[in-house]
Symmetry: C2
Subunit: 226 residues, 2 copies
DNA sequence: TTTTAATTTTAGATTTGTCTAAAATTAATT
DNA sequence: AATTAATTTTAGACAAATCTAAAATTAAAA
């Protein structure tokens, strides 16, 4: 049986959801895909049949090893294409997601390995997310949300949790990009907003909602070559 | 109504067929797509509904202006991606067709215009076929089949009519590529095979079937920059 | 100009992916 | 523990793209 575009999108979404919550629920997956619970149930039966997912009705579900492998390959393609679009075709980091959502379904394995080599084996995508290598190994990151960063502790932006283009546009406007070095100057308990200082720039204020979605590491470059 | 992948493949195939025969027949299209006549009829009704094709039942059909415009855009994408695969990712010209068959359906207009610029606005693809420009203008070529080339007249390979990978592999083996300068040394009336001479190489013999599918121009580069 | 052959279309099925509404199950509250 | 609420699944429907087999139409041959 074939793994269609829709199945690939389901696998990828399950993978991301189970990263956070271990096991995934029908409603959560439907929400994440912009579809309905009934449709998710239908699809799960097919994915179970194909032995990509462990699923018992009413009990929630998660990818098995095969499913995880498949999902990681799709994520690899998504992120490599995003990198290509930004680095080679001059797209902004807030414009690439939709296009990669289509490109990730191109099937040729050789294509993606050649693309990887052409790009110099990058290890993070334009949003700071790690790119799985050709064996599907995905490096783990130790990063915290900016909301949890202690006052005056230098850190470096290494990822963005909520990657809507509205969010990315807001960050762009405030000159916060991947790799930006910053520290928190002040925390306002009233609304949990923060004043953040970037070198050579006037301080900017970020809402708690924004801060929660900016991920930082202890001032260390997020990209190290292999 | 949406233009699906399958509809795009139909439009493209109709375009190519009508180049040759003016009007297209149900069976011809089915053969060209590896599908059945009944399926073609079904699809034609949808394409007519969408006003992309002029179709009266039992009378044959052809693309109207809208349909032609759509088809040319798909061809543009197909050929630009082929160029990218060969020139940037080091694929052989006989390996790229299947992959481009998928890539041509990626929808972003901005992507394809950026890709075009990134590649330096090439005007022919790796098989010598012209790449439509961003306005959809497609240059016409004056080329003849190698089978019709007069004896001892220098010419240059500018296109391949039958682009199966078997054909491309055979040409590769005989050191015949796009742009190769050659002339015919001898014609064998018995089977219409030809002896062809390429500079600095021993002469090679080509069957009539191959010769018919190798297109040449009067020894003039096929690619001229705009 | 009949008759026969080829082509094209219709009728009716099937598969895939989706939906809504109703039923079944599980979870949360009195 | 009984009732209510939320979640999940099933039942039944629909659109898209395909198929086979039969009917309609057109073209070719006798
Ligand atoms: Mn996708
Ligand atoms: Mn990304
Ligand atoms: Mn295609
Ligand atoms: Mn080509």
């Amino acid at each position: 049986m074939k793994v269609s575009v829709s199945k690939e999108d389901h696998l990828k979404a399950i993978f991301h959801l189970q990263q956070e919550h271990g096991t995934v629920t029908t409603n959560a997956l439907a929400a994440s895909l912009g579809t309905r619970a009934a449709s998710v149930t239908d699809m799960l039966k097919k994915l179970k049949e194909q032995k990509l997912v462990n699923y018992e009705r009413y009990k929630g579900f998660k990818l098995n090893n095969e499913g995880k492998k498949a999902a990681v390959q799709i994520i690899r393609k998504h992120r490599l294409w995003e990198y290509f679009l930004v680095k080679k075709l001059q797209f902004g980091w807030d414009e690439v997601h939709e296009i990669a959502e289509e490109l990730e379904h191109i099937s040729s394995r050789k294509l993606i390995d050649r693309l990887d080599a052409f790009l110099g084996h990058p290890d993070t995508d334009p949003h700071g997310d790690p790119i799985p290598d050709s064996q599907g190994r995905l490096q783990v990151r130790r990063q915290v949300s900016l909301a949890e960063l202690p006052l005056n502790k230098p850190a470096q932006v290494s990822g963005i949790a909520s990657q809507t283009s509205e969010m990315l546009e807001l960050l762009q406007y405030n000159h916060i990009r991947l790799g930006t070095r910053l520290e928190i100057r002040k925390k306002f308990p009233f609304d949990h907003s923060l004043e953040v200082k970037v070198r050579n720039r006037p301080p900017v204020t970020l809402s708690a909602q924004v801060a929660k979605n900016v991920l930082v590491t202890d001032d260390e470059p997020p990209t190290e070559k292999r």
